[in-house]
């Protein structure tokens, strides 16, 4: 993985027409995904999931169980891929790291006073450093939405750049914009451009802690920011919609959107992720249905 280059904040960002974005999204959902395309897509979705638990009530046991699920999604179906990563709080990184040793599944840690981002920069840096010391492969940071909405773009940019520097070559950095708090698609685009300029390896929609989380229009606007960056620099940036995508069908619509907006180079776990907890089971259920022809009760699939 080559290191992202860092540039200054772009002077302006393109304007976004919400009506047009919603119309385009409706076209993605009208694609008919059948037979081999569907099966291949479902496997792809599973391999792109960051299996997530971010609760105050998380225990080491729960983390270990989830890690097993991530590396062995459903033993009775052969050939299922492992998920891309698990996503946990910094304090749980050590446990997850140990549980996933040798599986190829990454450990992602949220940081920077997740989910609100309401902490001094020093705390955010310390938070991130802790996660890295525990061995996190990926850092999911949140931006300071308050500062961004006040117009302090340089502050937001600097924070991202500092965290990025800390990650160095050890971990890939995902930058959470928390789009549900940004209010307009114009701001989503602006925040995307700032995060990309500051060195984000991935841009990510949401913490999953507030509603709305990931939506197709928000994701499309972010994908377009990634595409424009690629057009002007030749450099790829990853995308992670998170929160709110719980059905396999809607996950497939996201893949259609990525394919038709960015191209197939982005259709793998290096460049596209789903942040989700319930999605994995629905995908496995759909794969089972495609294989056996029958839907099985949810009780046949482990919930952890």
């Amino acid at each position: 993985m080559t290191q992202r280059k860092i540039s200054g904040i772009p002077a302006t960002s393109p304007r976004i027409d919400q009506v047009g974005v919603e119309e385009r999204c409706a076209r993605f959902t009208s694609r008919s995904i059948k037979s081999t395309t569907k099966m291949q897509g479902l496997h792809m979705v599973l391999s792109m999931i960051d299996l997530t638990t971010l609760e105050g009530a998380d225990t080491e046991g729960k983390i270990r169980q989830m890690c097993y699920k991530a590396s062995h999604p459903h033993e009775s179906i052969k050939g299922l891929p492992a998920t891309a990563a698990v996503c946990v709080y910094p304090t749980m990184v050590g446990v997850a790291k140990k549980a996933l040793q040798g599986t190829g599944v990454n450990v992602a840690s949220v940081s920077t006073a997740f989910p609100s981002g309401q902490g001094p920069t020093e705390v955010k840096l310390a938070d991130t450093k802790l996660a890295l010391d525990f061995g996190a492969d990926e850092i999911d940071m949140v931006i300071s939405r308050g500062r961004f909405l006040q117009g302090e773009e340089q502050f937001v940019y600097d924070e991202i750049a500092m965290i990025k520097e800390l990650c160095g070559k050890k971990a890939r950095l995902k930058v959470i914009l928390e789009t549900g708090e940004l209010g307009t698609l114009d701001r989503v685009r602006r925040a995307s451009d700032i995060a990309i300029a500051a060195g984000a390896d991935f841009i990510k929609t949401s913490t999953g802690k507030i509603s709305p989380a990931a939506t197709m229009p928000v994701t499309l606007v972010m994908l377009e920011a990634i595409r424009d960056h690629y057009f002007s620099t030749g450099e790829m940036v990853g995308m992670k919609p998170a929160g709110g995508i719980s059905s396999a069908k809607s996950a497939l619509h996201y893949l259609v959107m990525v394919k038709e907006t960015l191209g197939e180079e982005w259709l793998n776990k290096d460049w596209f992720r789903f942040g989700a907890s319930r999605l994995a089971n629905d995908v496995i259920m759909q794969i089972a249905k495609q294989t056996t022809g029958n839907y099985q009760s949810g009780d046949y699939f482990s919930k952890d």
């Binding site: 393109p14 304007r15 047009g20 059948k34 792809m44 377009e224 057009f231 030749g234 394919k259 180079e265």
Partner: protein, 485 residues
């Protein structure tokens, strides 16, 4: 991705998702629908209707001559008496019933429209058929409110309307014409285009099934000669025509000196104007929808694109990237974006213009796509380096071909946009409201879309200036040509 010149291949291709052709029940042979019955044409002549995507024959269609047209007009005249005297709310009920039955049979209509005309099933299913039903619903509502539509003017029907419709939106154009005519108490003789008669004939079956009195709508099929017989028939009170400017001029000549009223909706060469302050990604989407919708067989297609010079490179790059992801091929596949060209003759016309574009020095771009061996196909095409004097910027191509020019100032683009014999539609893309108002008041076009394109609604009148014709269809304006005071 454009930058890498890598062909989109194999990684995650959409599997075929064909709609079932068997849903469309097509008889091997269709007669003329006159006085509520299907009857054989006087001379017994039939012509084939083919599927332009496969060139396979779908059915044999009757060819009406002057004697058949005469029969149809007489049936319409006979029915006019009772239909025009029927209480307005009863007429409205018939129209509501037709609208509901179109909805009930929507899937069959969509399948036949796609088989017969080559348009993608996605479009016939999501646009043509629902809009056709919407037009009947809309005019059904006006039937018993005409007194309020034209207060103190006592609107009365005109009589028998001769209606001639094109092949690009067969059922929808039939609905645009039939619904307001019937709502106002007129009777109709309709001639569909010879390459796409089937949905009009299915509509005739629907009229029978819903109990519409015989003779209120008659459908005569055939080519130009049948249309001429209809236009020249003395028993016709009004001609409504949608089609080419050339034929429109012939009709004008033919009815000169008669008392026949007329409305003509003819060709277009719409300017789609994109300013540097536009929301570019959404504008690109609108440009694609404006020119590649229905293979560009749209009279209001945004076939001339004017891009402000500062964003020319970006817009062209994004357009090229976008049209690479358009799927061209089997119209019955639910994932097809661009279907088959309607006929061999039309394909040859388009190819002639593409050749002219290259010869006159414009730069062509077509994405590589695997086109089927049989059928009539043209990939989405765009030309850069186009001048205002190039043939492809002046004449209507009626295909998926976009001619791109640049401009610097508002005054310049208004002058260029209006410098055409046509004036049907235009599009403006800018984030600035004042600019929209300035342009919409200065562009000489019947419809001007702002930050969108090809949006249709029964409530909104549609029609042209100059060689794009006169008269309006849709909305309250659409009833006016069918009433007298």
């Amino acid at each position: 991705m454009a930058g890498k010149e890598k062909k989109e291949s194999g990684l995650w291709e959409y599997s075929p998702a064909p709609e079932s052709a068997s849903i469309g029940k097509i008889a091997p042979k269709y007669g003329l629908f006159i006085d509520g019955k299907f009857i054989a044409p006087a001379k017994g002549r039939y012509f084939p209707s083919i599927n332009p995507a496969t060139e396979a024959k779908l059915s044999m269609i009757a060819e009406a001559d002057a004697a058949d047209v005469d029969k149809a007009v007489k049936a319409a005249r006979k029915a006019f008496g009772s239909w025009s005297r029927l209480s307005a709310s009863e007429r409205g009920k018939y129209l509501y019933r037709i609208a509901r039955m179109i909805q009930e049979r929507a899937r069959e209509f969509a399948v036949i429209e796609t088989l017969d005309g080559g348009k993608p099933i996605r479009e016939s299913r999501d646009i043509d058929i629902p809009l056709a039903a919407a037009h009947f619903f809309y005019y059904a509502g006006w039937a018993d409110k005409l007194e309020y539509a034209f207060p103190n003017r006592k609107p009365k029907p005109i009589g028998v309307a001769g209606q001639i419709i094109p092949w690009n939106f067969p059922l929808l154009m039939a609905a645009w014409k039939i619904a307001p005519a019937l709502a106002a108490g007129n009777t109709v003789v309709l001639k569909p285009a010879e390459t796409t008669s089937l949905t009009a004939l299915k509509l005739a079956e629907l009229f029978s099934d819903c109990g519409l009195p015989p003779g209120v709508v008659n459908i005569v099929t055939g080519a130009g000669a049948t249309g001429a017989a209809l236009v020249n028939h003395k028993g016709i009170d009004k001609i409504a025509f949608t089609g080419s400017t050339d034929v429109g001029k012939i009709i004008q000549k033919a009815i000169a000196g008669t008392t026949k009223k007329s409305t003509l909706e003819l060709g277009g060469k719409a300017a789609n104007i994109i300013f540097e302050d536009a929301t570019i990604d959404q504008a690109v989407e609108g440009i694609v929808n404006g020119i590649y919708f229905n293979q560009g067989h749209v009279c209001c297609a945004g076939s001339r694109l004017f891009v402000q010079e500062s964003i020319h490179e970006e817009v062209v790059r994004k357009l090229k990237h976008r049209i690479k992801s358009l799927r061209v091929g089997d119209p019955m596949d639910k994932n097809t974006d661009v279907g088959a060209i309607n006929s061999k003759a039309q394909l040859e016309t388009i190819q002639k213009y593409v050749r002219l574009g290259k010869e006159e020095g414009a730069e062509i771009f077509q994405p590589s796509c695997n086109l089927p061996d049989k059928g009539f196909w043209c990939p989405p095409t765009l030309f850069t380096n186009v001048s205002q004097s190039h043939t492809i910027a002046r004449e209507e191509i009626f295909g998926p071909v976009l001619a791109i020019q640049t401009f610097r100032t508002e005054a310049e683009v208004i002058a260029k946009a209006n410098n055409t014999p046509f004036g049907l539609s235009a599009g403006v893309w800018t984030d600035k409201g004042s600019k929209i108002f300035n342009l919409t008041s200065k562009l000489r076009a019947g419809v001007v879309w702002a930050n969108t394109y090809n949006k249709f609604d029964p409530v909104s009148p549609f029609g042209g200036y100059k060689e794009s014709g006169f008269g309006r269809e849709g909305g309250l304006h659409g009833i006016l040509p069918y009433v007298q005071f």
